[in-house]
Assembly symmetry: C2
Homo-oligomer: 553 residues x 2
């Protein structure tokens, strides 16, 4: 395997051999490389910091649903380390070219595109795609570089170096619908002067396993995914299926986190979405990456039957819908599309618009206003800049004390108060409030055992984020490890695999300490411990002392 | 002595006896009360947090120049503890009424004024002063409550709860020219719904010492101040005297901290100011508080001979002048006045406008633009809100990596790179970059011994901030302790006195740790270690490891 070292200042791409003995991919590699090449003490947007891209351990293989791609940065939103991953095709294409990681350093004078083929990797002027929406920019890049390329692109948000900014990744249809969304990686890519990465895998090939037992391992994993408890539901209904579930258990943030259920939920449900899609065209069950088994993504058309958005997900419906009191699914879909076009994280965006309600700048349910605010963000007006600095920056500018965030990052669409284990993850992960960093669904209203559950979930998630496997595989380590072992010709135990997860967490926490963020910052905002969340009227009441004992390894 | 406990939510003022055995005043009392009543884990602007006022240990006595008043808050700018003090008359008046401290809790529904007389302390509706400039508001308050009152008032900035917001204190002429400026205490006062505190000391009297030797002690101290090395210079030239000194040693931040000397310095000097004042009326050598010996403040008139501003100080000339490339003293004076009117810290304001240069929103030397930006801040336009969130918030909104701040607070007008000991104070004080937290002038370009110097200076400053004595007394502990001992009838050694300083620092650091800010945050931004500052071409190069060893007590 190879690693690309890109120096933007010197307009130079060096291809290095990726050390054979390093079984590192995805988040394990981004966090390792951030430790090696990143600077915790420098500003996230300094040219002294770096932008890392890493496909997972199983990228470019025939392992099912293994095409998540990780980006690693120091986050301009939190000031700490960030790994953010997305689906799409790029990880698979990089894997086919034998590229395990990309380290981007320095800063270019003019916007560049990093073009990667089987023979070469070089920087070229980005030209007219700067300032374009992401969909048009990807169309243009395909005209330049061929129809079959995979693309990672930073949008207007990243060009403007906003802390709320994504790196978009093209899906199997070439749409920039998948987002490495959280923590502002788009701004770091933008600060390098790197507008896009295009990958043409022509001449590449599926990676070959070290051991023939790989086939059996992937077969077993594939069967397990197919037969997974949630697979059929997620395939049929998309992640929107969670709307009703979260509403029912009082954990769907509504009206700026003041309700845990949404009175107009019937207009946001997956069933509603399916009906609209059936009537208008579009499709449920789209797979964003090669080898996808679950195929969860909706393709959503507008009332006239024209394509509107892809990857129209639960978090978007929750944060741009319920959290803003908006039940107009078309309006939310338009906002999703605009966020994809401009490169905004829908979670952070919904969170930031939500707090504007406190200062009279946003009325719940006013979809037109929410859409207009996203346009302001895209234009970089002063108000757009405020919102683009995330919910914490917005609260700071407007003197708002009730901030739904941890370590500067907005709380996602699973209410902390009525999902106490998940909330422990929000409090303690190095990433800021992040729902994928460690999912805890069990006994959500209990205070007991949540720290242990969260720690276990965080170790599991960190390890899985290294493999490139999608969250929705819900694959157990017992089925994951045989794929890794047979592919790499090693002999990891499940414990070895989870030790990789622990090592990732240790590296990330060390980075944060060096960045000035110690364990003292591992806490939820106090108002969550006092303000009951209807309808459960839960408050967050896991003892801080117990929380402080997490990660004792 | 008494302590007022004001509950804004309940519209209630309780008068408590201040414990006789507690020798606590000024910063010693604010930091103690923040530890007792404040909540490090709650948001600075939460109604769970409190706003503290404390005159110094010698307030209301005949000790010379002992009328500094401290406010204590959790800072909305830094997220940590903040003590900010100013001169003016209020401390003296509170002392005469036997009031040692005020704790303000909760949050009023409508804006209130806390009216304190010899007989009573009560909340009254603020009425029409809300929204007024501070000068007009103080005029109006005097109409209501009498000519001889002292006033603390939060301006438009504090009403809007901006992180850059001061608490203004009236001087001996009744002008709100003295500012508890740094760290945003005005926003915390505003978040309580407390618009102003008015103090009428009629019926009060000078506090009586426990021991007659107090007279001799204050006589000795007064003589020492009169004969101090810098007294004549500061009296004659004001703090503007430091313009030439800092320019000469390359430590006057100019052009957004890119130069340490200012090419147009001749237009900012004290000599220039004195000439203008002599020609136009106004005065040098004004004393802001009763019993002032040094009398350092200029009263500055405009070209037509009309009063423009009082307390026109070095930091303002540095940060709104040199740091913005502006050499028009009248324009800087107008900005000083507008900052006093609206309740903005001139340091944070100059720092925030300075970084706008990086994104093309401010051209160095454009005084009209700088004045217009301050008006935007006062109106709370979105751009004004960005600037009002301080230099760190401004940089975050605009994607600026080169941030001249520590712990979220802008670096003042003594360059960190060419004042290495002072810079250690910036890095390590719990307050964020603060010049009064520990002044170190010796061997500014040396890396040796700066941690020790800064630690000593911080202990000295903390103790002095407890006494209410003005910085410009430059009084040694040896002359301060006899005043405290004879006044309180105690027998402190100099070590006991400095132990008070240490205890303040310990409390403040503990508060910050509980607020999520550990010692990992004790560092200057990395670019100061790399970018040489002309003309000395110094970089900050005191070893971080050495810095981390500070406060080992």
């Amino acid at each position: 395997m190879k690693m690309l070292k890109v120096n933007m200042t010197r307009d130079e791409v060096i291809v290095e051999t990726f050390p054979r003995d390093k079984i590192l991919g995805g988040r394990a590699l981004t966090s390792y490389l951030m430790t090696e090449y990143g600077s915790p003490t420098d500003h996230a947007l300094s040219e002294k910091n770096c932008f890392i891209v890493a496909p997972g351990l199983l990228a470019g293989t025939s392992a099912p649903q293994s095409g998540r791609i990780s980006v690693g940065v120091k986050s301009p939103l939190t000031g700490g380390i960030k790994e953010s991953n997305a689906g799409g095709t790029v990880a698979h294409l990089l894997g086919r070219l034998g590229i395990q990681g990309i380290v981007v350093e320095g800063k270019a004078k003019e916007w560049q595109v990093l073009k990667i083929t089987a023979d070469s990797a070089e920087l070229e002027p980005a030209g007219d795609i700067v300032g374009m929406g992401n969909y048009a920019a990807c169309d243009q890049l395909r005209k330049r570089y061929g129809e079959k390329i995979g693309i990672m692109v930073t949008g207007r948000a990243g060009e403007m170096k906003m802390p709320n900014s994504t790196v978009a990744v093209t899906d199997t249809e070439g749409r920039p619908s998948r987002q490495c969304a959280r923590g502002g990686p788009g701004a770091v890519m933008g600060a390098k002067g790197l507008k896009a990465i295009v990958v043409d895998s022509k001449g590449g090939s599926l990676r070959k396993p070290a051991d023939d037992s790989f086939k059996a391992a992937i077969k077993e994993a594939t069967e397990a995914i197919k037969n997974g408890d949630a697979t059929e539901m997620i395939h049929t209904l998309g992640s929107a299926a969670f709307i009703q579930l979260e509403h029912d258990r009082g954990s769907l943030p509504s009206y700026n986190h003041s309700q845990g259920s949404f009175d107009k939920v019937e207009n946001l449900t997956a069933e509603k979405m399916v009906k609209l899609i059936e009537a208008r065209g579009g499709a449920m069950g789209h797979g964003c990456m090669p080898g996808c088994v679950v195929r969860c993504s909706p393709i959503y058309h507008d009332a006239d039957g024209h394509f509107l958005t892809a990857a129209f997900e639960y978090e978007t419906l929750g944060m741009l819908g319920a959290n803003l009191g908006i039940d107009d699914m078309d309006a939310i879909a338009r906002m999703d599309r605009r966020c994809d076009e401009l490169g905004f994280d829908t979670i952070e965006t919904g969170s930031a618009i939500g707090v504007l309600h406190e200062v009279g700048l946003f009325e719940f349910g006013d979809a037109a206003r929410a859409e207009a605010l996203i346009e302001e963000m895209g234009k970089g007006t002063p108000l757009g800049r405020i919102l683009g600095s995330g919910v914490t920056g917005t609260a700071k500018a407007f003197g708002i004390a009730r901030v739904p965030a941890v370590k500067g990052q907005g709380i996602p669409a699973h209410s902390a108060r009525s999902s106490k284990g998940w909330a422990v993850t929000y409090a303690t992960t190095a990433m800021g409030a992040d729902h994928t960093a460690g999912i805890v669904m069990d006994e959500p209203l209990s205070t007991e055992g949540q720290v242990e559950r969260s720690e276990g979930a965080q170790i599991y998630s960190a390890a899985q984020d290294a493999t490139g496997l999608c969250l929705y595989t819900f694959l157990s380590p017992e089925l994951t490890v045989p794929m890794i072992n047979s592919f790499y010709g090693i002999n990891w135990s499940v414990e070895d695999y989870l030790e990789m997860g622990k090592e990732i967490l240790r590296q990330e926490r060390t980075f944060n300490i060096n960045a000035g963020i110690g364990k003292e910052a591992d806490r939820l905002p106090d108002w969550l411990t006092r303000e009951p969340l209807p309808p459960t009227n839960a408050v967050f009441d896991v003892a801080q002392k117990e929380i402080d004992g997490i990660f004792n390894f």
